[in-house]
Symmetry: C2
DNA sequence: GGCCTTACCGACAAAAATGTCAATAGAGCG
DNA sequence: CGCTCTATTGACATTTTTGTCGGTAAGGCC
């Protein structure tokens, strides 16, 4: 009498990767990027350690793939948000909110910080492409005067979203302010700046 | 014939801690906080692994002690800077510059990010105390109208300095802007805000 | 049905890192 | 000088984690 093994599931490479990355996202949200250990990821996805390595090469590969995936999803959401607003200020505000959401609430900033600290940041080229796409959208919709101003503005938005997403909650608590305060202030700053740029 | 051993150096507890933390600072600058391994720290300080543990209890203890030390040094520098400026805007600008320097150039943001990710952030109570001291200084020198405005302002400054210090360089490079650009913009935002608060 | 590609897996190897423990040796002090 | 305190140490145990390897089986294709 042979021991029962759970039947193997054979997925397409894309489905297998997606399955693993979805598990990663849950782990990232629950325990942070440092918990993206090979064994935990594999367990979360319901596959063996070796399977994860088969698809991503290394645990670092898993992490950068997760970052890329989150950035792609963010760009899609921003594109949708842009379509739902007629005015520049509304568009940018909605985009900024999506940005803060992806990096703050959904754990993107913590993952980005992890990549930055482990020297994997250079592989985040997905960000460059994403920014180019969003910038192209804005140039098309808003036809702003100055392209470097757009780039500077996006640099500010992204960096602030990352900083607030990673440190905002802890700092607010440590300094005795409400946890969401820093995000409000940051969004105010961003909207004030865009108003100033478009208005004057 | 006995094997030559290097003579032991016996330091006071304070000197021993200082020696170890100085080595940590060098490692932090050169390789980042994830390189603050027990063996490397001990080697950098020229002592045995067990010695480090004797003084700090654990490698996490070393890291939080280093953070505390950096924050103390920062507060001292800010106090000096405050004394060298007569006007509020000049004072705050100099303080912000010191803040960005400590967190950016000197590696404080990377260390803070590490503590945040590894769950050690709650032990960064040194920040709370530091902010209280600086806030007290400002209340005394500038007698600003609103204390919560001061707290909000410091929350913004600290969070931005952390965000820019950790992500600024990489993001600027990724988005095709000069590496120091984000810092300039951030300082502009801060000074504009303080001018607005004091001016009107 | 038979074959071939490759997604998948268990077992194992190997490295890296932290922390424990008992012993050693400076340095102050009577 | 001899005693005591404790900073210091080497050796070691343990844990954690990544990655390799040879074999297994699922599903497409002829």
């Amino acid at each position: 009498m042979s021991i029962e093994r759970p039947a193997r599931i054979r997925r397409s490479p894309e489905a297998a990767r997606e399955n693993i990355l979805a598990a990663c996202e849950a782990i990232l949200l629950e325990k942070g990027p440092q918990a993206l250990k090979l064994a935990d990821v594999a367990a979360g996805a319901g596959v063996a350690n070796a399977t994860v390595l088969h698809h991503f090469g290394s645990i670092d590969g898993v992490q950068t793939a997760l970052m890329t995936r989150m950035i792609r999803q963010l760009v899609q959401r921003i594109a949708v948000d842009f379509g739902q607003h007629q005015d520049t200020v509304g568009r940018v505000g909605a985009g900024a909110r999506a940005l803060f959401d992806a990096f703050g609430t959904r754990g993107g900033a913590r993952l980005a910080a992890w990549l930055e600290l482990t020297g994997e940041a250079r592989r985040m080229t997905a960000i460059r492409q994403a920014v180019q796409e969003v910038a192209a959208l804005r140039m098309q919709l808003d036809s702003p005067v100055d392209e470097t101003a757009v780039q500077d503005f996006m640099l500010v938005c992204v960096t602030m979203a990352l900083g607030v997403g990673l440190f905002g909650e802890t700092m607010a608590e440590l300094l005795g302010r409400p946890p969401e305060r820093i995000r409000e202030i940051a969004l105010d700053l961003i909207e004030a700046r865009i108003r100033q740029e478009t208005g004057g």
